[in-house]
């Protein structure tokens, strides 16, 4: 299990290949990549700056990944999150989960994203033609995280 916070871009294919290298018990590789859009909340977005809370960020991501590992039989997990300045189409976050079976890999990947969205200390500031603005949290993200508390997780 690995968690990285970095300014540099990442290569999803290389990350997945490295994670599953030599592991012949892996039957399922699920991944989620969040990408910067050029449009949000009704206006064009030219660039974005991602701020975070160094120290807590890594702790929060590790705790989310550890919780996923208690809920599902995962062989390995990778979370990479970028900080600093980003432009439209730039990848922001990557979550990869490896398991013997698809149910565990897919559910854990969704779970990690839902908790990352509500518990990992990152904040986005967008630059639009009308000026800079901090992105507001979405109520739907809280609901998405809440659904994992309600008994049937998978």
């Amino acid at each position: 299990m690995a968690v990285r916070v970095q300014r540099e871009a990442f290569d999803i294919g290389a990350e997945i290949d490295r994670l599953r290298a030599g592991r012949t018990s892996v039957g399922a590789v699920a991944s989620f990549m969040g990408v910067m859009r050029d449009f949000n909340d009704g206006s064009g977005v030219q660039s974005m700056v991602l701020e975070h809370y160094p120290g807590m960020t890594e702790r929060a991501l590790e705790s989310i990944v550890a919780e996923a590992g208690e809920r599902w039989p995962l062989i390995d997990t990778l979370v990479v999150h970028r900080v600093g300045e980003l432009r439209p189409s730039d990848p922001i976050v990557l979550v990869v989960t490896l398991s013997a079976h698809r149910e565990a890999a897919l559910a854990a990947c969704a779970f990690i994203m839902d908790f990352l969205k509500t518990r990992a200390p990152f904040w986005k500031k967008e630059r639009t033609p009308a000026g800079e603005r901090w992105v507001e949290a979405r109520a739907s993200d809280d609901r998405a995280a809440d659904r994992w508390q309600e008994g049937d997780g998978a």
Partner: protein
């Protein structure tokens, strides 16, 4: 220089950091400043942008020693307390 109660480190992030014009400060743990909720109230009493962000019902998150904590969480000398808006990563 610490008081008899000790002090805590308070950090601000994102919109709050910009609004307050500071990324953090050291505060003394005076009597009546025992919980995260007390800290929010104490900061809001400063008025201006502090009241604007903290006095009302705006959602603010607190982490104590890098773990998210509810308002009732008790503070201890030496704690690192972060105050920030709901997160928006991913």
């Amino acid at each position: 220089m610490e008081t008899a109660h000790g002090s805590v480190r308070v950090l601000y992030f994102a919109r709050l950091r910009e609004a307050f014009g500071t990324s953090g400060e050291t505060m003394d743990l005076a009597p009546g400043l025992c919980t995260v909720a007390d800290l929010r109230e104490r900061l809001a009493l400063r008025g201006g942008v502090w009241a604007e962000e903290l006095a009302g019902s705006r959602v603010v998150r607190f982490a104590v020693n890098q773990t998210l904590c509810p308002p009732a969480h008790a503070l201890s000398a030496g704690d690192e307390i972060a105050v920030f808006p709901p997160v928006t990563g991913g």
